[in-house]
């Protein structure tokens, strides 16, 4: 328990101390919100789908939670490089606990980043449908963060260098984002896309966010919740296993 707390605190401290990075990583979501948002608004409106800014904001929040949790999880690679990883690997604590502490820390950072992005979205004109549902939206943010922080830690455990990281970004993380319905509605998709989007855990996270933020739902909140919990358990188990197998 102490070990989980210590590793969690370390991750959060490191995040809060990287002010420049916090601000810099607001740039990407803002481009999606403002450029894509205003750019696609007229078309979206004409297609009878309503206001695109309203639609895309939950997707942008989900996206920033995805990216910051994966990045934070993959921070393991930096620890491998700068050497601190060794210190935690020889500690007399089951490695699963170290992994869980790290993952919860990364997830916390991602939720903080997501909250920041949501705030900026609201400043930019996004209006959540109901304040009462906001806590539920946070619940979904937390679940998305845990799922992908655990995935990030799992990937960080098997990667040795940054080349591997690039490959994973391009062939795993970006597809997860684009297939999640963050940018487009999941209705009336071609069959292949329909299958792919429905096996992407982030689809359920974004859908959960949209349900709670703008009352638009594709799978339904309880399906979203169940899938995310299962994914979280699966990725944490996978991550703990891979983390405990690390050799240096």
């Amino acid at each position: 328990m102490h070990a989980i707390h210590a590793m969690w605190l370390r991750e959060v401290k490191r995040y809060l101390r990287s002010r420049v990075q916090i601000i810099a990583s607001l740039a990407q979501p803002m481009m999606y919100l403002l450029i894509l948002g205003f750019g696609l608004s007229p078309v979206f409106q004409q297609a009878g789908q309503g206001n695109y800014i309203q639609f895309v904001a939950p997707g942008v929040v989900g996206m920033s939670v995805l990216f910051s949790s994966v990045f934070s999880g993959v921070g393991l690679l930096f620890d491998r490089q700068f050497g601190f990883l060794k210190e935690t690997l020889v500690a007399p604590v089951p490695r699963a606990l170290i992994m869980i502490g790290r993952t919860l820390g990364s997830a916390t950072n991602a939720v903080l980043q997501g909250t920041l992005v949501l705030t900026v979205c609201i400043i930019a004109g996004f209006r959540p449908a109901s304040l009462a549902q906001l806590p539920l939206a946070f619940g979904f943010m937390i679940l998305i963060a845990i799922v992908f922080a655990a995935l990030g830690t799992a990937m960080g455990s098997v990667l040795k260098d940054m080349q591997g990281f690039q490959i994973i970004m391009n062939f795993i993380v970006m597809p997860i984002f684009f297939l999640s319905g963050a940018l487009f509605p999941l209705t009336n998709l071609p069959p292949v896309l329909k299958i792919l989007t429905s096996i992407d855990p982030l689809s359920y996270g974004i859908d959960g966010l949209r349900t709670e933020l703008i009352n638009i739902s594709h799978f339904g909140a309880s399906v979203d919740f169940t899938v995310l919990v299962i994914a979280a358990v699966a990725f944490i188990s996978l991550g703990s296993y891979l983390f405990s197998k690390i050799e240096i």
Binding site: H2, A3, R10, F82, G83, V90
Partner: protein, 262 residues
């Protein structure tokens, strides 16, 4: 305290550690001497649960690192050859997280951190971020950290690399004290013959993954008919210079992270 029997570690075809056997009784200071790339660090990694042996057996305090990882980890402390600090944390935070991971109770932890940081002349810089420290300060902090949880066995992998003579002297003084007062078993590697001769009860000389000689400093000198440990070492390992093969992957990553941080 440490038993190693016919230990082998291969990387592909390459035998980094090639069938070595030795024992270190409790309370002994045992030194591993060898040129670069001899297999010293690889041996320490296997002893400290970081690496699985290819074959052979090893036990610490009667326990196998393969089957009793956590129990084994409770018994040793280690100062790694390569950096192992978190640069984004302060000196104090680095000590504290170590103390927590090793379950040192809060009050005792605070006391020991204070006395160790004072001992290694880092107390004034306790709230400084480690990434702003000089190489010697980082090294002293790693050593102070290694002492924090009074382990039964202390591994020191070239601990004096990058230290000035004063700190070096001080370190070996502390190691000897600890060994005498707490009966801590010490397993160390070093490049400095005078250090080995001064602190080690027994020495094993390793070259190309094989132990070529072991015994007390005097036994080694007698065996090679030389009058200093340095001469004995050269007699046993030859005069050619070894370079540690560069790790290309790590270098790439280092470049990338530098780019990234800029």
């Amino acid at each position: 305290m440490i038993r190693v029997h016919e230990l082998v570690k291969t990387y592909g075809e390459f035998r980094a550690v090639d069938n070595i056997s030795f024992t270190v009784p409790p309370g002994e200071i045992f030194a591993f001497l060898g040129p670069n790339g001899a297999g010293k660090t690889t041996t320490i990694k296997m002893l400290t649960t970081l690496l699985k042996p290819t074959s052979g057996s090893l036990t610490l305090d009667g326990l196998s690192p393969a089957t009793h990882q956590t129990e084994v980890r409770k018994r040793f402390g280690i100062v790694f050859q390569d950096p192992s600090l978190d640069g984004d944390l302060t000196a104090y935070e680095n000590m504290d997280i170590h103390g927590v991971l090793y379950a040192v109770p809060a009050r005792l932890r605070a006391e020991r951190i204070e006395s160790l940081l004072k001992l290694f002349e880092l107390w004034d810089r306790r709230d400084g971020f480690v990434k702003t420290f000089s190489g010697g300060m980082k090294r002293r902090l790693e050593i102070a950290r290694g002492f924090l949880h009074t382990p039964k066995i202390l591994f020191l992998d070239e601990p004096t690399l990058g230290l000035d003579p004063q700190s070096r002297n001080q370190l070996w003084g502390h190691v000897k004290n600890l060994n005498e007062s707490e009966k801590t078993t010490v397993f160390l590697t070093t490049h400095y013959m005078d250090e080995a001769e001064r602190v080690a009860h027994r020495i094993a000389i390793i070259d190309h993954g094989k132990i070529v000689a072991q015994g007390t400093p005097d036994e080694l000198k007698t065996q090679t008919k030389t009058d200093s440990l340095e001469a004995a070492f050269l007699a046993l390992t030859g005069n050619s210079i070894r370079d540690e093969s560069a790790n290309a992957g790590a270098d790439n990553l280092r470049q990338f992270t530098q780019m990234w941080r800029r």
